[in-house]
């Protein structure tokens, strides 16, 4: 299983949060690494979506889509900041 990056979940995040978050800032709650969503490590169809910190490997976010609902867990992020529009 090859990991992708946060570009691959741009559409999913658009659907769940209503906005493009690929350039949003994250800070890992485990190691403090700062990264844009696009640079996170993404495992798709795992059966759900698992997003991990590129530096420490810990889980930043899990998204499970079940019966039209998206269950989103952001426990691994200390910060998830959309920031300003370009």
């Amino acid at each position: 299983m090859v990991a992708l990056d946060g570009n691959a979940i741009g559409g999913l995040l658009l659907e769940v949060f209503g906005t493009d978050l690929t350039a949003a800032q994250t800070i890992c709650a485990t190691c403090g690494n700062a990264a844009v969503v696009a640079d996170t490590v993404v495992y798709l169809r795992a059966p759900g979506t698992v997003v991990r910190c590129r530096t420490c490997g810990n889980v930043l976010m899990v998204i499970a889509q079940i019966r039209g609902m998206s269950c989103v867990d952001l426990f691994g992020m200390a910060v998830f900041d959309e920031g300003q529009d370009r």
């Binding site: 741009g10 209503g18 998206s70 992020m77």
Partner: protein
């Protein structure tokens, strides 16, 4: 624990295939008519969703192959073990409908106002969003310096070759690295894009280039690692990893 359950918003829309164009033996460009398309930026992608008659669905992401002022098109490589790409490259035809979501992407994007010099490094079908960037650059008459290094298995696998060669007339430097075999008399690069080739082709770090690397995950990570070793700050190396289905 920060958890929420959210009903998905209505983001999917139905497009019509207006044309399909064979680029190489395994690669096809699909041109789309998308009602109410809001426009897109070079580097963005769409998500495509296929639905079988029994309700089974499969979704994949594909980079937009065209510039911001053109109709949406995607270029898809057929992966033999793929679930979606064989359908898109062999079955889909003009007149068919295609469900899609997008445009998506706020990071791996380039407008002329972002400046350069630009370094574009493509592995296989990773060339698609970089071609969109070069198309945008040409269509706006931009003189931002640009270099494309495109790694492909063989010359026959190079997508958009005529068009890419033509960008040299617009001041872009375009070079190819063929990894598996080269035609007789080949004057381009041979073998993998490694640290030595990057040292030769990449802008000096002192010029503060803006870099886009796209292709399979292993390719992107090797290239990005080598660029950082050449002094490229990680924040100015943008990456997009492609998967294999």
């Amino acid at each position: 624990m920060a958890t929420a359950a959210v009903r998905g918003r209505l983001t999917w829309q139905t497009a019509t295939v207006t044309a399909v164009k064979q680029e190489t033996e395994a690669v096809r460009t699909i041109e789309l008519d998308v009602p109410d398309w809001p426009g897109h930026r070079a580097g963005q992608h769409i998500d495509v969703r296929l639905t079988a008659d029994d309700g089974y669905t499969a979704e994949r992401s594909y980079s937009i192959a065209t510039a911001d002022d053109e109709p949406v098109a995607i270029t898809v490589e057929r992966l033999d073990d793929g679930e979606v790409s064989p359908y898109l490259t062999e079955e889909l035809r003009a007149g068919d409908q295609l469900e899609l979501r997008g445009p998506i992407g706020g990071w791996f994007v380039w407008d002329t106002s972002d400046g350069g010099p630009l370094l574009l490094i493509a592995g296989g079908s990773g060339v698609v969003p970089l071609r969109a960037i070069l198309r945008h650059r040409q269509r706006t008459g931009s003189d931002v310096p640009a270099r494309l290094l495109y790694s492909s298995r063989t010359l026959a696998d190079v997508i958009y070759r005529g068009e890419l060669d033509q960008y040299r007339d617009g001041g872009a430097e375009v070079s190819y690295a063929l990894t598996r075999s080269q035609p007789p008399g080949w004057t381009g690069y041979s073998g993998r894009v490694d640290a030595a080739l990057l040292a030769k082709v990449a802008w000096p770090a002192s010029q503060h280039p803006l870099t886009f690397v796209c292709g399979p995950t292993s390719f992107v990570e090797a290239v990005a690692g080598n660029l950082v070793s050449l002094g490229y700050p990680a924040g100015r190396v943008k990456t997009e990893r492609f998967g294999g289905t």
